[in-house]
Symmetry: D2
Subunit: 317 residues, 4 copies
């Protein structure tokens, strides 16, 4: 039922990855069920089918970029909406069975993205260890727990879950690295505006129209809507055919964002609304990400004034 | 009373000019009173004070350009609105007292703009006549009627009124020359949309904002509103300070023009609505002046569809 | 010969008008001949034919707006260029034959624009006098000198020339009113850039292209060229067909203005260059008219850097 | 030495993947050495260090989207340029040791992206087989060759290399799926323009400037440069900080693209040129990807005309 808080949560598994850790920051999830899914599509399908109320999946990483499969799933298939974003520092740790010393580590299991992000640390502290690619951070922790490998690069929650000792933490070359996750539900009324919100859209443009992307940006700019992110995802039809996934500042309930949305709806081949939700502020937020007040002439009250003026004109007053 | 058809008309005099001739094309004026005014401000002040219901004044001429005083009066002072436009061919005739022959004409009275527009004809047919500047086409006809001058360049109605014989017609170098007049009333409900309407605006922009005029044009372009004319008129504050008088295609009751108007209201220092009224089609209308259908995505039904879609999004459907 | 300073000057007559007064502010004109012309076309034709080296004609007035005939003459016909602008305060005086007192004035000769601009003063000081329309400020002074009228509203130089006593000065309702004049020559090398220049253009756009005017403004905006004035002048072909006369900040020798000019040349039906010349600064210049430094990335050295970079790319360095 | 054709090639390994297959379509590579690299960074570093002359790496896939690591490597680090693009159909085959029948297949090794793209085929023909994730298409083929798995989803070249029998081909759900590869070299003169070229750029914008991305698109649009692709890649500084990787139509030697590049250089925080190279046309190219003639006014000859005109203006002719 719309309005009922979600109680059955699913997240991108396996257990012990950053996705589970991100889900634990959502208060409602502490009191609900939390089930790992084998993949992003599986997590989202669980929500679509009604098996789960909400899914926690990664959207983008400040080092690795967009998580294509999540964007593709949101842009295509049965519609879903984002109701919350979670920004989580990517704090890699080196986990090993209790008793292992750093000096004795000869093999390290790691997801390739994880080992790439910890290259500097590995060169410095484990120059002679063999790094073995595995398919997830959770799988790395499992491999260390079973003794298949001497150690694992994993999330703190992965070490905890598998009762690994943390031999070192903050392994990442970029100490400020974060991952942005989305909590996704079936369509329903969006959370109320907070004054500092994000709206995510999937926009399909007519490819035979020159300057079509420019006109999308103009629809936003004329209403003072700030575009904070744009991702191109292939539509699968042909090389060179993209759907654009946009993050804008503002909430669907804001007048100017509403007008911009209507403009996109009119000029684009298709627009899919992927949710309005509060911006997650975190310690190392970039300065440019501060909430931006509506530009001159574009606040809700400016809109109300202009609408009242137009109504007077139409009545001939 | 709003809605009551006007019965008391005033026009830019004196009698016997093109303004009177233009007023005679307005059906209601045939049954009402028609009073000449000495100047455009006087004509408009008669409407403002309630002495007259409507004034017929010139807006622009296809040869001489904008009639500055009319634009200035509409942009400043007590508000008025245009309810109708009249396009009239500028058909200059040579009038003289009956019995005069072309060969005997030695002096011709003419308003300087009239003699400029008939330069070719005068050189060909009256190369030796002295052309005397007078202050209006009506004054020229009067001068010929009183015998002060042998002939006058004037409007057909001027020859009729002063019982002058027409020695020659179609004197103008530009046979397609026309003047555009406006019928102006006190503010009231605009005439209903016809599908081929014009809206006139006076727009004040913030001069300390670089690109302010560009953003005005973008507000229109994003809504597919076509700008057919732009005139700069000095505000009188200082050299380089202008108010822009714009003609746009569309009616204030159209959704997209309404949205564009609201946009201008928000981004401009001030906007004055000067009326929505049917476009006057005439024989020699330029091809480009054909009624332009709303661009893709910008018809009223596209707007209605987009508004309904937004409402569904906001309700979470 | 190009480069030879002009010695034979012509100006919009008759003698004793503001045009003559403006010409007297041009140093070279003090040592040359100064001949009045009967009209703007006549003045410019004298330059075209080689009879005169330069003509001084009015461009616009801060109250009355553009002088259409000057713009039309510059945009059409044999090309000419502006080499200098002169801004002159419009200081109307009341001239009368010596011995006349203000109290005895019963009739005042005035050009209609002059009497309009002095309405307030006339109501206050000469509420009972008859104001008679004449065809120029110079003709008004002549009429007062011959005794046809008791007094004349005219330029200071008109009173001097006709030996009139000045009964009152600063008659204008707008004490800061100015007129802007152009000194016009046959095409030749423009005066050197000063860092605070104006460039005037006549731009013909394709009327069948929607948004053609917007694309003109974008060509300028992308190069950071500021548009200080835009005038629509009818081309005479048909109502709704205009040539736009633009004033831009900058000099044809500036890199970014050069690039913008090339852009206009490519996208417009036609562009006529009407001169680059130093901006005339005067006492009451509006604040916004201060010389504007080139926007970030658009100075000549930014252009030079970008051109050098491109050359390196093309050589594969 | 610049100009010397490359002879030592490296490609994203292992052997038997689509990258090797793509490299085999490059004529020069047939006569040179072809060495697999363990990763994209390793391949590109081999070129940077001079060990190899050129590297063949994937850029994007019509199903999976951009290959982030390639874009990141090109946008950061020691500069490299693309000299050629190769578009290769993604034709997955099912390889198994000779003698294996489809009915006997119980386990299939596949890279997760490969199994995702063959989901439909797997459901239909091997509904009961276990699909095991491995780290590359080449690793899958190896696993089938060693007997670790019964079969592998791999590239045709992978089956050939490991002497696998092809039990089925065209396994992909999207029969038109292609991957786009780049041949990358150290900076040098670009290949000559062909009239149908692509230019790739990495653009860094000032994040504190509202509408910065819009102004990038305007720099392109004003010069009629078509943007065919835009990818956002994180800069690693912070979430929300992106570098944009753009594909444009045209060649750095084209005048209008040169002017657009200079414009980007001036308005952006930084621009890195990543090469101009002939567009690869292939059988199923989308209609919209046809070579687009320069828009009216933007051909090289239009530019030459405008430059000559400007030069005449500056000389005063």
């Amino acid at each position: 039922m719309p309005g009922t808080p979600p109680t059955r949560f699913v997240y991108l598994g396996p257990e012990g990855t950053f996705s589970e850790q991100a889900l634990r920051t959502v208060p409602a999830a502490e009191h609900g069920t939390r089930t790992p899914a084998r993949s992003v599509p599986e997590a989202l399908d669980a929500v679509r089918s009604g098996e789960a109320d909400a899914a926690l999946v990664p959207l983008e990483n400040s080092i690795g970029g967009a998580v294509g499969v999540t964007l593709d799933e949101l842009a295509e298939g049965e519609p879903l909406v984002i109701t919350r974003e979670v920004i989580l520092p990517v704090d890699f740790v080196l986990g090993a069975r209790p008793g292992t010393t750093l000096a004795s580590v000869r093999s390290v299991a790691a997801h390739p993205q994880a080992s790439t992000q910890c290259r500097q640390w590995l060169r410095t502290y484990l120059p002679d260890a063999v790094v073995v690619d595995v398919l997830s951070n959770g799988a790395a922790a499992t491999g260390a727990a079973t003794g298949e490998y001497d150690a694992a690069i994993c999330a703190p929650i992965g070490a905890t879950r598998h009762r690994l000792a943390v031999l070192a933490d903050k392994l990442g070359d970029h100490p400020d690295a974060v991952t942005r996750f989305a909590l996704v539900s079936r369509p329903g009324p969006p959370p109320p505006p907070t004054g500092d919100d994000v709206t995510t859209l999937a926009v399909y443009i007519a490819h035979d129209r020159v300057g079509a992307l420019l006109s999308v940006l103009m629809e936003l700019a004329v209403r003072g809507v700030n575009l904070t992110r744009i991702e191109s995802r292939p539509t699968g039809e042909a090389l060179g055919r993209y759907v654009f996934v946009l993050d804008c500042t503002g909430h669907v309930a804001d007048v100017r964002l509403g007008e911009a949305l209507q403009g996109l709806r009119r000029v684009c081949a298709d627009v899919r609304f992927l949710g309005s939700y509060p911006r997650h502020r975190w310690a190392t937020s970039a300065a440019g990400d501060r909430p931006v007040p509506a530009p001159v002439g574009l606040s809700d009250s400016d809109y109300a004034d202009a609408a009242a003026w137009l109504a007077r004109l139409r009545r001939g007053e």
